[in-house]
């Protein structure tokens, strides 16, 4: 972080609410969020910054949009350590990842994955990767390509050979 940014945000960044410190996070598109430190430190990246005393000013969360960051914060709130979380509510919220049907669902999960990866939130990363894996189960090779936006670089002969080698895996 540049020194200019530190000086600029020092007035707003280090606010406290009771005994809980609030951290200010700024998304890539400029949206600002105030989050309790105890919650935000579920991110290993942010925890590192707090431990190194680098979290006194606005923390820029690059590559993560305000929309995605809001989802991440929702996740944090529901998974706060020590919080009495409502099992049912938690399951309900997580179940939105159960069906990744269309492109927009998929893009949401991808955005969350990227944010979880950048912020290093192992639980969210596990949840999203397993959700994507669930979505892939049952898909054919072509459907997988479509899902990941990958073009095959096998020629027909090579792909045929690969399929024949493991015929069993291609039967439903």
């Amino acid at each position: 972080m540049s020194t200019a940014a530190t000086a600029d945000a020092s007035s707003s960044g280090d606010t406290t609410e009771g005994s809980v410190r609030l951290l200010t996070l700024q998304s890539e598109d400029g949206e600002v969020f105030e989050v309790k430190e105890t919650i935000a430190t579920q991110s290993v990246t942010i925890k590192g910054m707090v431990d190194d005393d680098c979290a006194t000013s606005t923390i820029p969360v690059c590559n993560v949009t305000g929309r995605t960051l809001a989802m991440v914060i929702e996740w944090w709130n529901k998974h706060e350590i020590g919080a009495v979380s409502n099992e049912k509510e938690l399951k309900e919220w997580e179940s939105q990842f159960d069906t990744i049907d269309d492109k927009s669902d998929r893009d949401d999960v991808y955005d969350l994955l990227m944010a979880a990866n950048y912020l290093n939130i192992p639980t969210l990363l596990d949840c999203c990767t397993s959700a994507v894996a669930e979505a892939i189960k049952g898909k054919s090779t072509d459907e997988m390509r479509e899902f990941f936006d990958i073009k095959s670089d096998f020629d027909e002969k090579e792909e045929d050979a690969l399929r024949k080698e493991n015929q069993w895996a291609f039967e439903n």
Partner: protein, 283 residues
Amino acid sequence: MEEVGVQISQMLCDESTKDNGDVLVAVVGLFLPYEIFFEILSWLPVKYLVRCKCVCKKCYKMIEERSFIMKHLRCSNLVKFYCEDEVENLDVDGIIVQETFKNEQVFAGLSLEKGDISCKYRLRNFTTQEILYLPNPHEDTFRIYIFPLSGGIKLMSFYGDKNSRHVNGLEILNLDKNDKWRPLKFPILQRGQRRFFNNTLPQGLFSNLSEVLIFIWNGCLAFGDLVEEKLNLIVLEDYRMHKWSKTKIVVPLTFLKENPDLKKQVPICLCKDKVWFYSNQGH
């Protein structure tokens, strides 16, 4: 058909490994980094991994990589069972006889099996049920072992006097390269890179040496025995320094109470926090 498969694996092996991340990102249009892709696929059952291998060459390469296979094995269930001795028909001079393949060793999800009549060896992949017949080793071979070496898997055959098990020589087979059995000079091997170390098992640890089990414990050689529902083991932590674990490690296996039959099976592999059992009864 097989040839094409081999060509693909060779072609992919030839490509340098350093470009993993970047190239996959370029191939996966949606900027999913390599490590995330890796995590996603590690949740998938083998059936869908096999399908995924056909998606593109980078996917194929990633799924075939040892680091991925090991990760996937770690994520699988706690106890795995391996079933049945397989019977196959064998044509001996026009007469069909039944040959039974018996399991000799299990390593990293692979089972080394030996036919009782033809004495042919083969490797079976439990999850995909693929079978690879090995070229014939030295005619006096009495034992073959699977072991990991520099990222791949190799097989070592010991030949000599079958009764006294006196070793006259060694051969090595490199599975990655469609190799033939190559003799190794004993005890100093080629290029001076591989060496043999003699270690002596501390005395008085096991009451009955003939029942001692040998297996891999977090990458180290370990010896152990099953007493009641506990596995007692000692680990050779550093074979160069002759360093054994200071005390016997005791692993309680409470599920053995419910499944006493399992005691007859051999715990083959202990990896991190998981114990793998392989059973040859119909579980």
